[in-house]
Structure formats: structure tokens, C-alpha cells
């Protein structure tokens, strides 16, 4: 007798001009970042592929290497090794400074200190390079000799100690100083977001200040600490000038941090080799850039995965 009742027309929200402008603008901005990433990635792939496929003998930069991969491997290793050493020094220090600012220091000192940390971020990397090569390297060299003499049995400190101090460890110290401000600033913001409610819960259970920080502030800030570390890592992996100026490199793969034969990094190698590169050699350098791009992508994906693994315990719900 009756057909199925006609479905009521769906009520749509009225589209106002402001809403449309704003959503349009936000969508465009979001799309733009994808477009830029795609443009960079396609440039790297298109220009990098010839370096891998062409005959290695056609490229003078690969002289002494079997192929592209044996050329790039020490660079990849140097990039990861120097960045890892830098983070090893910078992350604990940054967390310490951030905790001091957010939970220990009197307010006035905390503000001043935060300001100084931000200033450190504004120093250009070439200045850090000069400082590292001319001041830091000679200053730490006697210490390196001491380490080598007394702890030479430890593989990292073994080998023939460098006379100039311009080793991968010095480069990593410079990198650590450079990534310190960004990690500290982010950690400080995150630590200050810890809900007072949870801090009080810990204190009311009889936690000391340090126990309170360990029970609430650090777990609550965990994903933020990882994100901050990733940003710092991104800068350490890609840093060019400071490493190029500090490091005396030899294209080797070694874990020894005190010798004068050090692996170079991808970014520093591009900067140093590019002025004299021609023809297919340019493609080789671009291909190493593609490797750096891929490494960054992989590292960030791993960090994302780590953060998401314990999402329901993050405190965000």
C-alpha cells in the first residue's frame, strides 16, 4: 500500500563565508606541504637514479670504489654515528635543563635560563663550525689523549689519537650543542603541561619531588620527549657547515671516536664535494642526498611507531 517512506533530505550545515575561507585555507596549506615533499622526493629520485645505474668508471668521484653503494655506505654510517653520539649527549642534558626550568628553578631564574637557551638556537651553524674547529678541538685534544692513554682498552677510545682534536667526537659535541636548544625548549613546554592534578596525586601518596617527576612528569611527557628528540635528530642528521668545518674525514667505517681517520657525513660531504663536481658526479651527490632523505623518513616512522604503541597510556585520553 505504501512504499518505503522517502528518506528525509539530509540537513546540511549552512556554509558561511568565514568557515569556507578558513577550511579552504587550511586544506590548501595541508596540500602544499605534501606537494613540496613530493617535488623534493621526485627531484632526488630522478636525479639520483643515473648515479646508481651508470657505469661507476664514468664518475671520477667514485674512483677507488666498486660502485655507488660502497661510496655511500661510510657516509651513511658517519651520518648516523655522529648524530647518535650527539643525541646521546644532548638528550639527557636537555631533559635535565628542561626539568630544572619547569620544576626546580625559582621563577625568575627559570625565565632567564629559558631565554638564554632560545638564544643558543639563534646562533648560525657556521659560527658553531668556527668555534668547534678553532676553539673546542684544541681544547679537548689533551682530554682525548688522556682518554686514549687510560681507557684505550675500550674500543671507542682505541686507535691512534688525533693531534688536532678534529675527530667525530668533537663534531658530535658541536652537534649536541646545536640540537640542545630545540630539544630543551620542547621538553620544557611539555613538562609544564603536566596536569597539576596528577602531580598532586603523586605528592599526596608521599612521593618526593624526584619521585613525583618520575611518576607523572616523565611518563606524561614521554611522547613529547620522543618528538623533541626526533626534531633534534633531524637537525643533527642534516647539519652541514659545522660538521664540514670541524671534521677531518677519511671515508672509513670505524667506531673509534678519537682518531684522525673519521667517516664523513652525507650533508658535509655534499657541501665539500659539490663545488668541484661536474656531470654524473653531481648525480652521485644527489643520490647520497636521497639516502639521507630515506634515513630521516625511516627514523621518523620508527619514532611514530614507538609513540603510538602505548597510545592508550599516553594521558591524552
Amino acid at each position: 500500500m505504501t512504499s518505503a517512506p522517502a528518506r528525509p533530505a539530509r540537513i546540511t550545515a549552512k556554509k558561511r563565508l568565514g568557515d569556507r575561507l578558513f577550511s579552504g585555507g587550511a586544506t590548501t596549506a595541508g596540500a602544499l606541504i605534501l606537494a613540496m615533499l613530493a617535488a623534493v622526493a621526485s627531484f632526488l629520485v630522478l636525479q639520483g637514479v643515473p648515479a646508481v645505474t651508470a657505469d661507476p668508471r664514468d664518475m671520477s668521484i667514485l674512483a677507488g670504489h666498486e660502485n655507488f653503494w660502497t661510496y655511500v655506505w661510510p657516509l651513511i654510517f658517519g651520518t648516523l654515528w655522529s648524530a647518535a653520539l650527539a643525541l646521546l649527549m644532548a638528550v639527557p642534558l636537555s631533559i635535565g635543563i628542561a626539568l630544572f626550568i619547569s620544576h626546580y628553578a625559582p621563577r625568575r631564574i627559570a625565565q632567564g635560563l629559558g631565554y638564554i637557551i632560545d638564544l643558543l638556537a639563534a646562533v648560525p651553524s657556521v659560527v658553531f663550525g668556527l668555534w668547534g674547529a678553532n676553539t673546542l678541538a684544541p681544547a679537548v685534544q689533551p682530554f682525548y689523549t688522556w682518554l686514549n692513554d687510560n681507557l684505550g682498552w675500550f674500543p671507542l677510545f682505541s686507535g691512534q689519537v688525533s693531534g688536532t682534536g678534529r675527530t667525530i667526537l668533537t663534531a658530535s659535541i658541536v652537534l649536541a650543542v646545536m640540537v640542545l636548544p630545540i630539544i630543551t625548549a620542547l621538553c620544557r613546554e611539555i613538562f609544564m603541561q603536566t596536569p597539576v592534578l596528577h602531580e598532586e596525586a603523586a605528592l599526596a601518596l608521599g612521593a618526593t619531588r624526584w619521585e613525583m617527576i618520575r611518576m607523572t612528569v616523565l611518563p606524561f611527557g614521554r611522547s613529547g620527549i620522543i618528538s623533541a628528540t626526533m626534531l633534534g635528530l633531524g637537525r643533527a642528521l642534516g647539519e652541514t657547515m659545522a660538521v664540514a668545518m670541524v671534521l677531518s674525514s677519511a671515508g672509513v667505517v670505524t667506531f673509534q671516536v678519537l682518531t684522525s681517520t673519521n667517516p664523513s657525513t652525507i650533508a658535509a660531504n655534499i657541501a665539500l664535494s659539490f663545488p668541484e663536481a661536474y656531470g654524473l658526479n653531481v648525480n652521485v651527490l644527489i643520490a647520497t642526498g636521497l639516502m639521507l632523505f630515506a634515513i630521516t623518513l625511516v627514523v621518523n616512522s620508527i619514532a611514530r611507531w614507538v609513540v603510538n604503541r602505548r597510545k592508550e597510556f599516553s594521558g591524552a585520553n
Binding site: H198, A201, A204, L205, G206, A207, E312, S314, G315, N317
Partner: protein, 259 residues
């Protein structure tokens, strides 16, 4: 593990501002004492001085003594951290640690005191504490899930379980039901009735029916005006306060004439 609290002429200051003035009262062991009064009258501030939680706020200090079974909380050399391990607290808004599971939340306080604990011992304590907070049957199958996944009332009972897991002498509750629906409130009130057998309980509440339902003794606090310190106006058995108070201000407040 229940103890008597004696407060002698206690003043509380925030910097130069005197928030609470001249409180003297005695809380008997194994009883429930309710603090009532209008907002800003200093009852929560005063409650926090009973386990030195007010010291979390910079510039807060007290004058006077608080004796728990005769020993002064504010005596020289008394560590506030140890005070808080004996005097537990439940807050206005449920605050289980979001980064911990239900089980870890219950054990949080115990782990501070006694790091090494056999698993079976820990299991027993978790069960006993959650039983004590009337939560065991609802969560026994999901002890490893985050505490933040529970409902508000369950979260508050989890906080109570966490507080009683360390076997405190006294349990302070700062408006524990004000963020909860009536059914959860009833569950907490039943729980307070049971906990009274083992603990000295002090509860701050805005709900006068709640005070009359759960407490044995009631303290009425009031302020003369903004910027003036809060004072203890009257302290007596709960039925006296609600039926036959001696002070006019108390009668006005409990009968709803103001506040």
C-alpha cells in the same frame, strides 16, 4: 591503623594573606568528620594542612600545631613526604595516573615505600585494596588496562583504592563526589561508611545532605567577607549541627538561608 587528630590554634597563610584563622578541633579515630561552609571559607585549605599538601603552593605556611596521636606534623625535622605517607588524600576530581594501568595505579604508593615486592604479594594487595574500594568486581578482568578508561565514579574509587593501599592512618577527602553523578556518589558514600571501621576520615563537602548522611561530626567554616580569613564557627555532632545548632550563622547556612 586509625589515629586521633588534634589541631591547636592553627592559622594558614598564603604569603601575607591569612586564609584561615585560629582553628582548634579534635577528630576522633574511626569516625567521619565533615567540613562544610561556603566557597572560599578555607575548609579545603585547612584540610590540606592536615597532610601538609598546602606546601605545594609557593608561599603557603601555617602557624600552630597539628598533632596526630600526639606527634606534631609541624615539629622540627618532620618530613612532609613521610607525613603524606601516613595521611592519604582523595581529590575533588578523580586523578588516576593516566600513564599507568589500574594495577599499577593501586600499587603506585606502595612502590614508593617498598620497591621490591613479590608478585603474589602485590596481587594480594591489589585485590584487597580494590575490594576495600568496592571496585574489584568491576575491574578484576582488566587490571592491565589504563585507569583513565574507567568511568568518573570508578576512577574516584580507584583513587581511594590507591590511597588505602599504603594503609594510612587518616584519609582526607576533598569534595570527592562533586564531579560525580548521584549513583556514583552513593557508591562512594557507602564506601566511606565501610572505611570508617578502619580509618579516621575527614571529608570536605558542599553537599549538606551528604554531610548529614555520612558524618559523625560536622565542622562549619565561614568568612566574614572577601579578604578576611576563614574561621571555624561551630564544631559538634552532625545531628546537633543540622537540627539544633548553637550559632545563628550555622543555622542560616544549614537551613539554606544563605550560601
Amino acid at each position: 591503623m586509625s589515629k586521633r587528630i588534634e589541631v591547636n590554634d592553627l592559622d594558614v597563610y598564603y604569603g601575607d594573606f591569612k586564609a584561615v584563622e585560629g582553628v582548634t578541633l579534635t577528630v576522633e579515630p574511626r569516625s567521619v568528620t565533615a567540613f562544610i561552609g561556603p566557597s572560599g571559607c578555607g575548609k579545603s585549605t585547612f584540610l590540606r594542612t592536615l597532610n601538609r599538601m598546602h606546601e605545594v603552593i609557593p608561599g603557603a605556611r601555617v602557624d600552630g600545631e597539628v598533632l596526630i596521636d600526639g606527634s606534631n606534623l609541624y615539629g622540627p625535622g618532620v618530613d612532609p613526604v613521610l607525613v603524606r605517607r601516613q595521611v592519604g588524600m582523595v581529590f575533588q576530581r578523580p586523578n588516576p595516573f593516566p600513564t599507568m594501568s589500574i594495577r599499577e595505579n593501586v600499587l603506585a604508593g606502595v612502590r614508593l615505600n617498598n620497591r621490591k615486592m613479590a608478585k603474589s604479594e602485590a596481587d594480594d594487595l591489589v585485590e584487597k585494596s580494590l575490594q576495600g574500594a568496592n571496585l574489584w568486581n568491576e575491574v578484576k578482568d582488566r587490571l592491565d588496562r589504563p585507569g583513565s578508561g574507567l568511568s568518573g565514579g570508578q576512577q574516584q574509587r580507584l583513587c581511594i583504592a590507591r590511597a588505602i593501599a599504603v594503609s594510612p592512618d587518616v584519609l582526607l577527602m576533598d569534595e570527592p563526589c562533586s564531579a560525580l553523578d548521584p549513583i556514583s556518589t552513593l557508591a562512594i558514600e557507602d564506601l566511606i561508611e565501610q572505611l570508617k571501621n578502619d580509618y579516621t576520615i575527614v571529608i570536605v563537602t558542599h553537599n549538606m545532605q551528604q554531610a548529614s548522611r555520612v558524618s559523625d561530626r560536622t565542622a562549619f567554616f565561614n568568612i566574614a567577607g572577601t579578604g578576611k580569613p576563614g574561621k571555624l564557627i561551630e564544631f559538634d555532632d552532625t545531628d546537633v549541627i543540622f537540627s539544633n545548632p548553637k550559632v545563628q550563622a550555622t543555622e542560616d547556612y544549614v537551613s539554606g538561608k544563605f550560601g
